[in-house]
């Protein structure tokens, strides 16, 4: 009798095991399983629609790929550098000029009828016929130029590999080095944790340099003396998010700043004093599919402005240029 009970109980247990296994196997347990350590960035990423003061007026593709840098001159001509190629368009997007380069330019600038291109570690200068006029020697072979601007016989070059901005004379001779780390002068140098280091010319052709690691925009004179700076590190819209932002900078004709932040993708406007004004574009304006994926690159390769106050954005995900105008 006792044996029978034991056997019955054992067999019951055995069938229980089979039942448990079968149930576990055929049921979809992964579903509805919440992530206990969810790090929800959606709330941070979303931007209230009332904050937008710009809207996309149009966007356009070009007949080249890998759009990388853009600049607009006072005649509303658009200079765009793409994969081993540079194109110049007029305001109604007719192609004016198209020439190839040895390598993809990382930065482009137009001044005095000359097109300045930053090609890896050196600067190349082209004329408006697409002919290379000059190829300058690199500052150091290790240099990596991420941005350049030219003004009044000066050429400023941002070298992200050496954490300095170089100021050149017209003949290509080095005039001064801005932002070199110098503990005697109390100069801490630029902190560039990732390869984003942008400079721009302000309202009065003054030089603004992004110090991404410190979340600062710094204004220097040509001798390399710091005049003023502003910036706030914050996830909120008012500040610059992440480890090293803003990644791109452009300055509107009225002197207000257009900044692009990577990571939490947003393009914002600050007024002349560095006070946050509003948003030009947020993540939803770019390809939202790419947000979740592991990326080492930013979604926007460059931003620029024209005299009308239109903001031009090089969308790296869709490989288009987007134009934003005031609402």
């Amino acid at each position: 009798m006792r044996q029978k009970i034991i056997i019955a109980v054992s067999l019951l247990l055995f069938f229980l095991v089979i039942y448990l296994i079968t149930k576990d196997f055929f049921s979809n347990h992964a579903k509805n399983e919440e992530n206990p350590t969810e790090y929800n960035l959606a709330k941070l990423r979303s931007i209230d629609s009332s904050q937008f003061c710009y809207k996309e007026s149009r966007h356009f593709k070009l007949s080249m790929k890998g759009l990388n840098a853009i600049v607009i001159d006072s005649a509303y001509r658009i200079f765009i550098a793409g994969e081993n190629e540079v194109q110049v368009l007029d305001s109604s997007l007719n192609k004016l000029l198209d020439f190839t380069t040895d390598s993809t330019a990382d930065a482009i600038f137009f001044s005095n009828n000359k097109i300045y291109l930053a090609i890896q570690n050196h600067v190349e200068i082209y004329d408006m016929k697409g002919k290379r006029v000059q190829k300058r020697n690199p500052y150091l072979n290790s240099s990596f130029i991420t941005s350049l601007v030219a003004e009044n016989n000066r050429l400023y070059v941002a070298d992200a590999a050496n954490n300095v901005v170089l100021c050149y004379n017209e003949d290509g001779s080095l005039k001064s080095i801005i932002g070199k780390k110098d503990s005697l002068k109390g100069e801490q140098g630029f902190i560039i944790p990732s390869m984003y280091f942008d400079i721009a010319l302000g309202q009065y052709n003054d030089l603004w340099i992004v110090n991404p690691g410190k979340h600062l925009l710094m204004n220097y004179n040509e001798k390399g003396d710091l005049r003023t700076s502003w910036g706030l590190a914050s996830m909120q819209l008012e500040g610059f998010s992440g480890c090293c932002n803003p990644a791109q900078l452009a300055i509107l004709p009225d002197g207000s700043f257009v900044t692009y932040e990577k990571g939490m993708e947003r393009i914002k406007i600050y007024d002349q004093t560095g006070k946050y004004k509003c948003v030009v574009a947020g993540e939803s304006d770019f390809n939202s599919k790419a947000i979740n994926n592991f990326r080492l690159d930013a979604m926007v390769n460059d931003i620029a402005t024209d005299l009308n106050g239109t903001v031009y954005v090089v969308d790296a995900v869709s490989d288009v240029v987007r134009m934003y105008v005031k609402k």
Partner: protein, 174 residues
């Protein structure tokens, strides 16, 4: 009769063995996670057969920015950039923050504490250089025949890789 059958079985087994042996890789294969596919869903922390998962966060120092404001270490919107409990993003405070010099900090992962949830990986990817990445640690992994995380991974990021090439870290140079 039996002898013939036996001979048949032996030949069959050897046949299968050699057929498969031809396809084999010399050495062994291990499970590894591809960080470029990972979406940090948190299942690595819960699905591993080991209670403290064999998947850990690994720091690729080479691409770290050594920032003070680290998206992988600090919660968003912290006021002070310090190691206080309320500031740490990691649920098990497995990331150690070490001052190097102004303004650089070194971040190390304490693998004993890391549960592989990927929270810091997401933070680092969203706000930083992406130097924090999840990897299967093969000194902990028991190399199950069928990885139970792989079965639950929504991104299909797990696969068997040859042991001598078992590191799929991005930006890692050695």
């Amino acid at each position: 009769m039996n002898t013939t059958l036996r001979a048949g079985v032996v030949i069959g087994l050897c046949g299968v063995g050699t057929l498969l042996a031809k396809r084999t890789l010399n050495g062994k294969t291990v499970w590894q996670l591809d960080p470029s596919k990972c979406v940090q869903c948190g299942r690595c922390a819960t699905s591993c057969v080991l209670t403290s998962s064999a998947v850990k966060c690994v720091h690729v120092y080479e691409i770290c920015g050594y920032c003070d404001l680290c998206g992988g270490y600090l919660k968003p919107e912290v006021k002070d950039l310090n190691t206080a409990a309320e500031n740490q993003l990691c649920p098990t405070s497995a990331i150690r923050r070490k001052f190097v010099e102004e303004p650089f900090f070194q971040y190390d992962i304490d693998e004993k504490l890391c549960i592989g949830c990927g929270k810091c990986v997401k933070g680092c990817g969203a706000f930083g250089n992406g130097s924090l990445q999840l990897q299967v640690r093969h000194n902990i992994c028991v190399n199950c025949n069928q990885c139970s995380i792989a079965i639950n991974c929504p991104a299909d990021a797990f696969r068997r890789v040859p042991e001598n090439n078992s590191n799929l870290l991005k930006g890692f140079t050695k």
